[in-house]
C-alpha cells in the first residue's frame, strides 16, 4: 500500500495531464486530409459580414476550409499575442505597419514577395503603392524591401464641411483644389460660430478637432514633422511644429471657434457634427456609411495648409499577413490576395461604406460615381496617391515616444502653457522612448 500511493499519484497526474494537454493542442486540420486555414481579424459588424461572405466564396472556389476568428478592435492585440505565445499563430491575420518590424525579426510573418509577384490572381500595379509599401521591410526600415503583408485597406483621413451651414452663413464654398490658409480657415470658422436660436449660448461652431487625430495635417503642412528622415531624432521642438500646435490650441482659446475645452472630446464633437452644429470636421472612409444619412449637405476638401501652402494628411492602413508556421503557405497567400484584391469582396466592403477600394481602377470608378456622397471622393484618392503620409508612430518599433506627446498635452490645449514651452519639455522624454524603441528594434 505504501508503494501504491506514489504510483496512483503518478497515474492520476499523467491521466489529468494527458487530458489537459489533449485539450490544448487541438491539431489544426490535416488529419482529415482537408486543408484548413485560420483567419484572425478584428472589426465591426459590417466588416465581419463582408469578410464572412468573401471567405465563403474563397472556400468554395479553392476547396479550403477557413476558420474565422473575429475580435473587437481593442482585444485584438492581446489575443494575437496570446496566440503567438502559445504557438498557435493563425495562418492568416491582420497586422499594422507598426508591427511589421517586430514580427519579421521574430519570424512570425512570412515573406510573401515571391508568391505575390508571381501571382496570377493579383496585379500589384493595380493596388495602392502606399498600401503595399507599408508592409515592406528590408531588415532596417519599414517601407522598402520584401513584402510581408498586403493591405486590407488604406484609410485616407480627410476633411469636410457642412455645405448647408456655410451657404446659410453666406460663406463662399471652399475650393476643392486650393486649400484654405490657416488664417482663411479661422476667418470662416469665426463666421460660423454663432448663437443661432438666440438663447444666449453658442450652438454652432466653426470646427471641433481632436488633437490626437487631427494635429498631424497642420504640423506637416506647416513644414514641421515628428521625426527626422532616418527616424532617429524627435523633431517636435522646431518652431514650425510649435507654431502649428499653438495655432491648433488657439482655435479654442483665442478664436473660440470650437466647443469649449471641456466639450472637445471626439465623441461630443462627432455627435455635434452629425447634428449639424459644426462647420468643418474630419471625414474618414469608415464614416461614409454613417454620413450618408446626415440631415445636411456636405463635401470633402483638403485640410487647411500652413506655411508650406501644401495640404497634408495621414493614411491609416491595416495589412493581412501570413504566418511563417502555416502548413499551407500557398493557400494562405491566396486567401490574403483574395481578401485584398477580389473584386466582389472589395465591392461589398465599399458598398458597406467602410473603406475605399484597394484596386486603383475600381477606386477611380467609385470616385467618379456621383450617386453617393460626397461629391469630391477624388480627394480621398489624392491623399492616397499624392499627399498622404503614415502616422508618425506607425513606422517605429513601438509608438511609446509618439503617445508621450499627447499624454501631457492638455495644458497647452487649455491655454495654460505655450506650445513652444511644452514641446521643449516633451522632446527629451520622447527622444528617450524613441532611443529605447530603436535599440529594441536593433536586437
Amino acid at each position: 500500500m505504501m508503494k501504491s500511493r506514489p504510483m496512483a499519484a503518478t497515474l492520476a497526474l499523467f491521466t489529468a495531464a494527458g487530458l489537459m494537454l489533449g485539450g490544448c493542442s487541438a491539431p489544426t486540420g490535416g488529419d482529415t486530409g482537408e486543408k484548413k486555414l485560420t483567419f484572425m481579424f478584428r472589426g465591426g459588424e459590417d466588416e465581419k459580414k463582408a469578410y464572412e461572405k468573401a471567405v465563403q466564396q474563397f472556400e468554395t472556389e479553392n476547396n479550403v476550409d477557413v476558420d474565422i476568428i473575429v475580435t473587437t478592435a481593442d482585444q485584438y492585440a492581446t489575443k494575437l499575442k496570446a496566440a503567438i505565445a502559445g504557438k498557435q499563430v493563425p495562418d492568416v491575420f491582420y497586422i499594422g505597419p507598426g508591427d511589421v518590424q517586430a514580427y519579421v525579426q521574430n519570424g512570425i510573418v512570412k515573406d510573401i514577395t515571391e508568391y505575390v509577384e508571381g501571382s496570377d490572381t493579383i496585379d500589384l500595379d493595380n493596388i495602392w503603392e502606399y498600401g503595399v509599401d507599408s508592409y515592406r521591410f528590408d531588415g532596417k526600415r519599414v517601407g522598402e524591401g520584401a513584402i510581408y503583408a498586403l493591405p486590407k485597406d488604406v484609410g485616407p483621413f480627410s476633411f469636410g464641411y457642412n455645405k448647408t451651414m456655410l451657404e446659410k452663413a453666406g460663406i463662399p464654398l471652399p475650393d476643392k483644389d486650393k486649400p484654405y490658409t490657416f488664417d482663411e480657415f479661422v476667418a470662416a470658422a469665426k463666421k460660423l460660430t454663432a448663437d443661432t436660436n438666440g438663447d444666449g449660448a453658442l450652438d454652432q461652431w466653426g470646427t471641433g478637432l481632436n488633437v490626437q487625430w487631427n494635429l498631424q495635417p497642420f504640423v506637416w503642412s506647416n513644414g514641421g514633422d515628428w521625426l527626422n528622415a532616418d527616424r532617429t531624432k524627435v523633431t517636435v521642438d522646431t518652431p514650425e511644429f510649435a507654431e502649428s500646435l499653438q495655432w491648433f490650441a488657439d482655435l479654442q482659446n483665442v478664436h473660440g471657434v470650437t466647443p469649449a475645452a471641456a466639450e472637445a472630446q471626439t465623441l461630443d464633437t462627432y455627435q455635434r457634427w452629425m447634428k449639424g452644429e459644426i462647420g468643418f470636421f474630419p471625414i474618414a472612409p469608415w464614416d461614409l456609411s454613417t454620413y450618408q444619412k446626415l440631415g445636411f449637405e456636405w463635401d470633402v476638401i483638403p485640410y487647411p495648409a500652413g506655411e508650406s501652402g501644401k495640404t497634408a494628411s495621414w493614411i491609416g492602413t491595416l495589412g493581412i499577413a501570413v504566418s511563417e508556421s502555416t502548413k499551407y503557405p500557398e493557400d494562405a497567400v491566396k486567401l490574403v490576395e483574395f481578401l485584398t484584391a477580389n473584386k466582389e469582396a472589395q465591392q461589398s466592403l465599399v458598398d458597406a461604406g467602410i473603406q475605399i477600394p484597394n484596386l486603383k481602377d475600381m477606386a477611380e470608378t467609385w470616385a467618379a460615381d456621383t450617386s453617393t456622397k460626397p461629391a469630391n471622393k477624388a480627394e480621398f484618392l489624392e491623399i492616397v496617391k499624392d499627399y498622404g503620409r503614415a502616422l508618425p508612430g506607425g513606422n517605429t518599433y513601438n509608438a511609446e515616444w509618439y503617445d508621450e506627446l499627447f499624454t501631457n498635452i492638455q495644458p497647452v490645449l487649455d491655454g495654460k502653457q505655450t506650445a513652444a514651452d511644452y514641446l521643449k519639455e516633451a522632446q527629451p522624454r520622447m527622444q528617450e522612448f524613441l532611443d529605447a524603441a530603436n535599440q529594441q528594434a536593433g536586437n
Partner: protein, 301 residues
C-alpha cells in the same frame, strides 16, 4: 507485516485513495500549470528583455532599476494607491446600509436587491454606463447637479476629478457585496448582548460602538484585505472609461500600465518585472494586515 486481514480491507481503501488522488490531482495540476508555472515564468521574464514573441534575453536587474526612474510607473502606483480611498468610504456606507437593512421595515428585500445589482452586473457594461453618466455635457450626474444649480466638471477629462469619478463608481459597484456580508454578520450578533447592554443603561451609540463594531470586525478585516487586493488590480473600469490612461496619466492604474507596456509597447519583460513588484507589494501589505489582526483578535464564548 502486521496482520493478515489488512490487505483484504485495503483494496477498497486503495481504490478510494486512488480515486481521491485523481480528484485532487485535477486542481493541483491546474494550479501547477496555470498558476505556478506562469508565476515562476514571469519572475524569470522579469529579468529579461522580452517582447512577448521572441526569445527572452537575460538582462539581470535592468528592469528593476529602470522602474524606479520611470515616472509613469511611480505615477500609476500613486494613482492606484489614491483610488483606494474608496475602500474605507465604501465600508462605512455599506455598514450604514446594512444597519438600515437589518431593521424590520417594509421593502428591505427590494432595497437589498437594488444594492446588490451592481455586484452581479458585468463590469464592462457598468463602466460604459458610468462613462456616459460622467459625460460633461449630457451626463446624468451633471444634469442632476444642474438641477441644484451646480455646473459639474467634465469628470473624466479633468485631472482633478477623474480619480474621484472612478472612486465613486468603484464604491457604488462594491457596496452591495460589503453590505451583504455586513448584514450576515449583524444578524449573527447574539441578541442577549444588546439586551444586557440596554439593561445596564447603554445608549444606542454605545451599543453600536462596543457591541456591533467589535462583533463585525472579522467581516471588516476580510473586506479590507480583499478590497486592497482587488483595488490594487483595478483595470477594466480604467481601460474602458479612460482608454489612454486619463488626462495627463491621472487615472492610469498600475495594472493598466503593465498591460499597456506588455501589449501595446512590446515590453513583456519590463511588464513582468512590474507585476512581480506589484505582487510583492500586495503580499507584504496582506502579511502586515494579518499580523495586525492577530493582535486584535478576541472571541466570545
Amino acid at each position: 507485516m502486521t496482520t493478515i486481514t489488512r490487505p483484504r480491507r485495503s483494496r477498497l481503501h486503495r481504490k478510494e485513495h486512488q480515486a481521491a488522488l485523481l480528484f485532487v490531482a485535477i486542481p493541483v495540476i491546474g494550479f501547477l500549470l496555470f498558476t505556478l508555472f506562469p508565476l515562476l515564468f514571469s519572475v524569470y521574464a522579469s529579468f529579461t528583455n522580452w517582447n512577448g514573441i521572441s526569445a527572452p534575453v537575460f538582462k539581470g536587474l535592468d528592469n528593476y532599476t529602470k522602474m524606479f526612474g520611470d515616472r509613469y510607473f511611480l505615477k500609476s502606483l500613486w494613482n492606484t494607491l489614491f483610488m483606494m480611498i474608496g475602500i474605507p468610504v465604501g465600508l462605512v456606507i455599506s455598514l450604514a446600509l446594512a444597519l438600515a437593512m437589518n431593521r424590520k421595515m417594509r421593502g428591505t428585500t427590494f432595497f437589498r436587491t437594488v444594492y446588490y445589482l451592481p455586484v452581479i452586473s458585468s463590469i464592462a457594461a457598468v463602466a460604459i454606463l458610468w462613462q456616459w453618466a460622467f459625460n460633461g455635457d449630457f451626463g446624468l450626474i451633471n444634469q442632476g447637479l444642474g438641477l441644484i444649480g451646480i455646473e459639474g466638471p467634465n469628470w473624466l477629462q479633468d485631472t482633478s476629478t477623474v480619480k474621484p469619478a472612478l472612486i465613486i463608481m468603484a464604491v457604488w459597484k462594491g457596496l452591495g457585496y460589503s453590505m451583504l456580508l455586513y448584514l450576515a454578520a449583524l444578524q449573527s450578533v447574539p441578541r442577549y448582548l444588546y439586551e444586557a447592554a440596554s439593561l445596564d443603561g447603554a445608549t444606542a451609540w454605545q451599543q453600536f460602538r462596543h457591541i456591533t463594531i467589535p462583533m463585525v470586525r472579522p467581516v471588516t478585516f476580510f473586506l479590507i484585505v480583499t478590497s486592497i487586493i482587488g483595488g490594487s488590480q483595478i483595470f477594466v473600469e480604467i481601460n474602458i472609461m479612460t482608454p489612454t490612461g486619463g488626462p495627463e496619466f491621472e487615472s492610469a492604474s498600475i495594472v493598466w500600465y503593465i498591460w499597456q507596456k506588455a501589449f501595446d509597447n512590446l515590453q513583456m519583460g519590463y511588464a513582468s518585472a512590474m507585476s512581480v513588484v506589484l505582487g510583492l507589494l500586495v503580499f507584504t501589505i496582506t502579511f502586515i494586515q494579518f499580523r495586525l489582526n492577530r493582535r486584535n483578535q478576541f472571541s466570545i464564548d
